[in-house]
Symmetry: C2
Subunit: 309 residues, 2 copies
């Protein structure tokens, strides 16, 4: 069969015979990753990582407390209380979102009890871009349709408006948000969604983005689409059960999924962005010259056995 679209994302690309390898000027993303150093990566923090376990496998999510501290803390409280265990994926809307939570949340007599978690927390749609900002904002120079400036903050796609003094996470593929009702402060993290299609950037600054799926997106993106309004499943038996959602720190070491993520504030990541902005492999005839924020991959990989303590 034709390979077509020859994006061999993680295969190494040998240099041709008449062109010796130049480690200092990597050409493809595989080259950049192969030439990266341990300091270009950071392990996921077990206190900031969720495992959403389904029958088909595990989805690993990193929380974003720098942007949504109240939501992140509330979700962790829920997870400690096993709030999500036995709940379900309720909605899959094509080219938009997959959403999970309590199918009975609007039936007081049947709804799962939130325990110590808050029923609603304050809106966390954006945050101050200056002052106590804990992380570098690595700008992407390619421009953006929606925001005056976009880039990456600690491994997550973000935007900012320095005139307004605000920064926010961007709704790219794999970003996780906290569903809310009409009121701004009606979200709690008890109902979460993940983007499974073209980045719905119109949601930016309208809802709390609480994190990002770093592994297992295919488990959430390949589900049957719901046929009800907004892609909700119409019959209870169509819902996909959630085995559990756990904080990595609460999971025995042997059962953890140990991953590391490329640091987005490094020169290596800048080289990776360039390798994707202008593809160098033989398949491409016209390099794009630019790259959209949501087209930049943020590499994640298992932590090598030798790197473990």
């Amino acid at each position: 069969m034709l390979l077509a679209l020859g994006l061999v994302l993680l295969a190494s690309q040998p240099a041709s015979a008449d062109e010796p390898a130049k480690p200092s000027t990597p050409r493809t993303m595989a080259d950049v990753i192969a030439a990266s150093k341990p300091a270009d990566w950071r392990p996921l923090d077990p206190d900031n990582t969720l495992y959403l376990d389904l029958a088909a496998g595990r989805v690993v999510m990193e929380l974003a407390p720098a942007f949504a501290p109240l939501h992140a803390a509330n979700i962790k409280t829920m997870v400690h209380e096993h709030y999500f265990d036995g709940l379900a994926i309720l909605r899959v809307q094509d080219n938009f979102v997959t959403q999970w939570g309590d199918p009975d949340s609007d039936k007081p007599e049947k709804a799962r009890v939130l325990g110590k978690a808050a029923k609603t927390v304050a809106a966390e749609f954006e945050r101050a871009s200056g002052g106590d900002w804990p992380f570098a904002f690595t700008s992407l120079a390619d421009g953006d349709v929606y925001a005056p400036e976009v880039g990456f903050v600690n491994g997550m796609p973000a935007a900012r408006d320095t005139k307004a003094g605000k920064a926010w996470l961007a709704h790219c593929y794999g970003m996780v948000g906290a569903g809310r009702d009409i009121g701004e402060e009606t979200g709690s993290g008890a109902e979460l969604y993940v983007v499974i299609g073209q980045a719905p950037r119109q949601l930016d600054r309208n809802i709390a983005v609480v994190g990002r799926v770093v592994q297992g997106m295919e488990l959430l993106a390949s589900l049957p689409r719901g046929t009800g309004p907004l892609g909700f499943y119409e019959k209870p038996e169509q819902r996909l059960p959630i085995k559990s959602v756990r904080l990595a720190a609460d999971v025995p070491a042997a059962e953890r999924t140990n991953l590391e993520i490329m640091r987005t504030e490094t020169a290596t990541f800048a080289a990776l962005v360039e390798s994707r902005r202008n593809r160098r492999d033989d398949w491409y005839k016209v390099p794009a010259g630019k790259i959209d924020l949501c087209n930049v991959p943020i590499p994640t990989r298992p932590i090598a056995a030798t790197a473990k303590p």
Copy 2:
């Protein structure tokens, strides 16, 4: 449950009691569609429409002969010869493409015979933007990361560079392209792919875009992801059989899927774009102010029974 993300795409939105309906200034997409006139829509041309029939249902694709005439003609030749019937979906790469064709195309003794269709046709990655241009290019004023100008041509997202005198179709969600090997002219239309994730605009001008899925995308986007390189299925039994691909004109009238598409060169479509650029429903707190080319929906609907001849 929380509806969250309240995008009631096709429900009508009644005007409130103290605010009479103003048909001339529609607010939501539903309002725009409700206020549209028959002339704002065009029926799909049966001579330019393909039905990809799967066990789970039908995918309807519109070809783009204005941009890829050789590919469109070659695909129609193949379809007339039942080339695709009994072939399969071979590849589903998460956040990228679903691809179908002949699993044995690289085995001369087993490959499906192409008959009167060409094995390769000339590259049709872009076309002249002036001169014999048959359709209006309706510009989108919101800007674009990848191209100097973007907009819509006869119901398809497109880009152009008037300085270079070139126009091309844009790789948005649902766009269909003809897979090729390393050589520019190695595509034929015998292996097709559709975009199922964030628009891979880096493919623009590197491959022939031959059309767009106008109905049934969920059937192609919700498939299990392949676990082989590039998302190819590793085992033959994982492939999804194609029942048939037929030209609508070759299908008895009673078996056709009669659809109409909003004309993208109309004032109604401009109003629709604005309704999506700045959402007016109560859920949104901050209108985006801009919209990305690939976030603009191109409405498709069944042709009303009363509109039939």
